[in-house]
């Protein structure tokens, strides 16, 4: 019984963190361009490289 009093808040808290992270990422526009996000992973980070 006692262990539940710790575990339940912990479980809820962890879930809430996940929810908060999702809401934050949504509000900061990370879901605005899903097609673009899928393509951007293919882009090189090297600024020097010649882009053809």
């Amino acid at each position: 019984m006692n262990v539940l009093l710790i575990l339940i808040p912990v479980a809820l808290f962890l879930g809430a963190i996940g929810l908060g992270a999702f809401v934050w990422s949504l509000k900061s526009g990370q879901f605005d361009d899903l097609d673009g996000a899928a393509e951007r992973i293919l882009m090189d980070d090297d600024e020097d490289e010649v882009i053809t």
Partner: protein
Amino acid sequence: MTQAMTASSKDPYVRLLSDTEAEAELHVPTMHCAACISKVERGMPEFEGVNYARANLSTKRVKVRFNPQLVSLDDVIADFDQVGFKASPFNSEKADVEGDKTAKELLIALAVAGFASANIMLFSVSVWSGGEMAEETRSLFHWISAIIAILAIAYSGRPFFRSALTALKAGGVNMDVPIALAVVLSVIASIYESYRGGELVYFEAGIMLLFFLLIGRYLDQRMRSKASDAAQNLLALKAVPATVIGEDGSQTTVPSEQVETGATVLVQTGMRLPVDGEIIKGVSDIDTSLVTGETVPVKAEVGDKVFAGTLNISAPLHVRVEGRGEDTFLAEIVRLMEVAEQGRSAFVRLADRLARSYAPVVHVLAAATFLGWWWYADDPHMALMRAVAVLIITCPCALGLAVPVVQVVASGRLLSAGILVKSEDGLERMGNVDTVVFDKTGTLTLGEMTLINGADIASRDLLMAAAIGVTSRHPLAQAVANAAGKRRIPMMDSVSEIPGSGLVGELKGKTLKLGSREHVGHVTPDAATGPELWLRIDDAAPIQFRFSDQLRPDAADVVAGLKKSGKRVILVSGDRKETVERVATEAGIDEWYGDRRPDDKIEILEKLKEDGATILMVGDGLNDAPALRAAHVSLSPSSATDVTQTASDFVFQGKSLTAVSEVLTVTHKTRRLVLENFALALGYNVIAVPLAVLGFVTPLVAAIAMSASSIVVTANALRLKMGAAK
């Protein structure tokens, strides 16, 4: 540059952030891969005055920030040209910000509901399975569930509560009323039950209901914003810039809707006319195919009237802008479209129709259960719990998902076939089409000329004609050049174009003339059999080149396929009767009308409607736009004029006409799947409702029934994906 600055400061497309920074959104339709993104995002800031560019691949728009002191929006668009993309300004104020916001709100509500139902389910499952659970533990679990449920429902339920309240205030009932009632009642009853220390609580049922319904709502909203995105991008294309010549001879570029009546506009060779007007300087050929359906360019000189949307082929023209009065061609088209629009609003979506009759049934059932048990068992608490069970069971999780899931899958399948769904209820309206009406030029045919008597022409003459023809933009001259194929075309020593007549040039000491029969001095009065060109080498006899606008390669097959599936196929065109008849015969269409003006086309459609036909109109010209609106549902090729694309419900890409049959197949299947889903959802109710009325539905059963029916409906919708792979 100073002139550019003043132009940009009052530009409707530009938003000033500070004195040295302005922001604009541009529509860049050709952007489609990672390389494109990096070209835009890294290439653009290298230009002078451009600070920042951010591409959005989903909406095909780019946000740019630039220094308005140094450059104008036109310069930025020119920079895009250099990077290799065609950009057009996009008026973000007109954009569907509202729709985007709603979609985001729904997504957050969905996330909260998902989080809450997962956590409450954690407690519920322990209660259901923990047979030897102490009463205090169970009570604790119930109260924790209650707290989560109340908070989550208060937040996630808002879209439903709001809509239910609006409906009630207006004195009506919509689907959201029973939903809101079920959720609120289940929570209140469960709180009371927890307080009494009872076993039956429905916290998870209430929040799960919201979770499933929100999925449906979100998908539906996304369909809507995607459709309106597509429509807005097309509107952006309408912003053709016009070059206005001032009295002092200065040239300024302004959006075409800002050009004033009486101003003089310069139309370069190869450009579409931005305005209606009268030619005051210059002679040229005008390609009116998109406006009137006429395939052969017409000669235009000083004093002739020209219309917006037509293409200037051979020489620059000065055009005096005519009044935007009621008598311009575009105004007439718009007026006809507005009239046609009114006939359309009567359409009610299937889901709404169902909801209208379903909601009262749910209320009556729940009320009857409550009163019945109260009277029979004299236990208001037990009666209330059973009524809540009825409300939860009847609540349309599966019904809410039935339509949006199918439509999302359908539009995905159409998109992969190159067909864009532009209106949100187009899929549904297309479902029971029985008559297909085609336009001719550019729809059934390719809208471009092909040489048809190539076999009768000596290869040397063809090469000569190609040599001189390749230098012109005139579609017939281009067709001659294309007919020469991959063979090496000799280079002309000199060429000059006489607008409206033809070309004259020198090649290895020979004088070549290519053009109309008057141009080459051919006077034999034989009847012309369609579009033609004549070639004369020095003083030799002139040689005739004949052309026709070829059918799309698969037009005949598509028409045959449509007929086979029992559709009535009709051809209506603004072109001359003989041409229309020939095309109708080639395509295998028995019913055709030629020489029809835009209002005649509408009349034909109205007559068909009166006979009870459900019409799909396929067309591309400006003259088709009103007819596209008047039909039940419409489809345009992506080569169509912007107004036309805006008017139609679907837009298809590519040269193949199979898009027509693909759309019909997919929408037909969509309709069937939607009906199947309704049947599944209602069938589940037929079984579950009696159980709920009799009191056999425990929270566990409700949870299983809800999830199972939603999954079945979704799985059924995914069947549409099968058969798409080729």
